[in-house]
């Protein structure tokens, strides 16, 4: 798929899939052409997720011992999402390093962030990083990102493009005036 990834083209794209000026609680929201278009795409991606399943399998083959959590983000928003724990982060370990990858179905783009959990007694501290990631995550995240590029032909947008405001649209629980291109392309939920 060849698609222009300029800010202008991405803004045009998201305005074809989200109605302007209507909140999700507005009864007119679900009947708009934009919402119908987005929902048709999203439901199709839920029903036919073979490429995503193959990708998850590929992660497990390429990174033995990695903990893979397939998160059903696509059931809510226009992006698949997976959380992958590094092989040295078994369940229950006091320190756990994970990378979350999201792959949009609206444009050939993906998004990455990393969580570093440190548990002490009953308290777990989590530090979240966005690219450029710290060295402890870099090689692992690079491998994961390369797998995504190979499987979906996606690219990672710059932080500046992701943060582009889309003030006339409401996405998920993010209110008018606070929505960004990242929210529109991947949904506003980070987990």
């Amino acid at each position: 798929m060849t698609q222009s990834l300029t800010i202008e083209s991405l803004l045009s794209l998201v305005h074809r899939h989200y109605p302007s000026g209507l909140s999700v609680d507005d009864p007119r929201h679900s009947a708009t052409d934009e919402t119908r278009r987005l929902e048709a795409l999203r439901k199709s991606a839920v029903e036919d997720s073979r490429a995503w399943e193959v990708f998850l399998q590929r992660i497990q083959e390429a990174i033995p011992g990695a903990g893979v959590w397939d998160y059903p983000n696509i059931r809510y928003d226009p992006a698949y999402s997976v959380r992958v724990a590094t092989p040295d982060s078994p369940v229950g370990a006091p320190e756990r390093k994970e990378v979350v990858l999201m792959v949009s179905i609206l444009a050939p783009v993906h998004l990455l962030y990393a969580d570093h959990h440190k548990r002490s007694g009953d308290v777990t501290e989590t530090l979240t990083y966005r690219p450029p990631l710290p060295g402890a995550f870099q090689g692992f995240a690079d491998t994961l990102e390369a797998l995504a590029m190979e499987a979906f032909g996606t690219t990672r947008l710059s932080p500046g493009v992701l943060a582009t405001p889309v003030p006339d649209i409401q996405v998920g629980k993010t209110w008018f005036g606070k929505v960004t291109l990242a929210d529109c392309l991947f949904g506003d939920h980070r987990w």
């Binding site: 909140s23 999700v24 609680d25 507005d26 903990g67 893979v68 959590w69 397939d70 998160y71 059903p72 059931r75 809510y76 959380r83 724990a85 369940v91 756990r96 409401q170 998920g172 629980k173 209110w175 939920h189 987990w191």
Partner: protein
């Protein structure tokens, strides 16, 4: 933590002379009936998904700024997260406790419209619930064919 009085947990009284406002009622765990929509597959460490769909009536009784909203709330939780199995009882209990706190917050924030009130309520509910149950999320109704409950409208 002090035990709440049943059905009066959301009582808010504003200390404004000549103006009392309040919201009453505790949301019970049974208001959230979870239904599995994604099964847990293979030996994955975490996964699966179950949702509860509930319409919750939020009311602020106030002489100056009364507001009422019927908020459609879909709560989704993993069957297994990085910390273990999330039982239905656990999901219901944590959802109810989070919903109580979120309702107090949203009503106290004095939003101007019912849509803003519902949005605030869902956002706070998700924030609180995800702290208790990793991976949990809250939206308006999304999944189709899930039995729906109503709380607070009687």
């Amino acid at each position: 933590m002090r035990a709440p009085k049943p059905w009066l947990l959301l009582l808010l009284l504003m200390g404004v002379a000549g103006c009392a406002s309040g919201a009453a009622g505790r949301i019970p765990p049974a208001a959230f009936q979870f239904h599995e929509v994604v099964s847990q597959r293979g030996a994955a460490q975490a996964g699966g998904w179950k949702v509860a769909q509930t319409t919750i009536l939020l009311t602020r009784i106030s002489q100056r700024q009364p507001i009422q909203a019927q908020c459609d709330v879909e709560i989704g939780v993993p069957l297994v997260n990085g910390e273990g199995v999330i039982s239905t009882l656990m999901a219901q209990t944590e959802a109810a406790a989070s919903a109580d706190e979120a309702a107090r917050f949203a009503l106290g924030a004095r939003p101007g419209t019912s849509a803003e009130l519902c949005n605030l309520f869902r956002a706070k509910l998700e924030l609180l619930l995800a702290l208790r149950l990793k991976g949990a999320r809250v939206r308006h109704f999304v999944h189709e064919g899930v039995p729906r409950n109503v709380w607070g409208g009687e």
